[in-house]
Amino acid sequence: MHLAYPAVLAALLFCVGLYGVLARRNVILVLMSVELMLNAVNLNLVAFDVWLRDALHAGQALTLFVIAIAAAEIGIGLAIVLLVYRNRGSSDIDRLRDLRESEGPQGGSGGGSSDEASVTPATDNGPGPGPDPAGRQHA
């Protein structure tokens, strides 16, 4: 088999995942796109391992490691996403902007609170005045 087939397929899959990471708004969709990118890399690893006839099978061993690390990453990532959703009532990446730099002369410690689109933070110790009370009821 021509080596260009798996290599081109991996490159295109990676770019599809890149588009998903950049264009999606929901965090879980971004995680799905990251999975696509990891799969593209795995496909490259396997193809080059088979091509080189590596005696140590480094490519396939690394592929197994990447799969296991991807599973760990998705578990931790989803735990973080659920925590953010419980505290903020939203999992939209565009609305999680409390850490951005304040802009303009009026910017002080308030930061994101001046922006009506941002989600008001709620601390862990007390119920915060979230703008989206319906989203917090389930927690």
């Binding site: 021509h2 087939y5 081109v8 990676f14 599809v16 264009a23 061993a61």
Partner: protein, 198 residues
Amino acid sequence: MNLAAGHPGFLSPTGVEIVFVLVGLATLGAALVTVTTKRLVHAALWLVAALGGVAVEYLLLTAEFIAWVQVLIYVGSVVVLLLFGLMLTKAPIVPPITRDDPSYAEVRAQATADADSGNRWIALAVALAAAATLVTVVVDAFRSTWIDLDESVAGSAKVTGVALFRHWVLPFEALSVLLLAALVGAIVLSKRRKGGER
């Protein structure tokens, strides 16, 4: 084509290559639908198709063990985790609606706003530029290289197991520690606070 003089033809129509290209097209299509669909649960289900297609590609590359690991871990557990995440974060569900419905445009705009962020066109430009660059470089670099799939199976369970437990034992064990750390971390993150509101 002169480069390929001493090799099999550039598009030698062997069965494996044809199947590889067809499955690759299906995989690519499923991946495209995954990153463009407005319905979040559909995205997860199309991701199953994409990952399953990659598993078939592994099989065609004679990496059998990797293929079944891919099916078990990605299709079996990662997608299920993602579906759980979609449900637990109350992902917006687009109601089933036909094109004739008067509220179609409104529902479609809402679904687009829920799924895609505002910088979609910039993302498309970046992805297209990256794809053009990568494909150009890769095709140019591997124009005259062929994978010999006829000799032996490169990735049967025996071969992979021998390589893994003879040469890669230490990384393997370190990986088990990492998995344990991830397990503990996920439990700690999702545990409800004792004194707090939850």
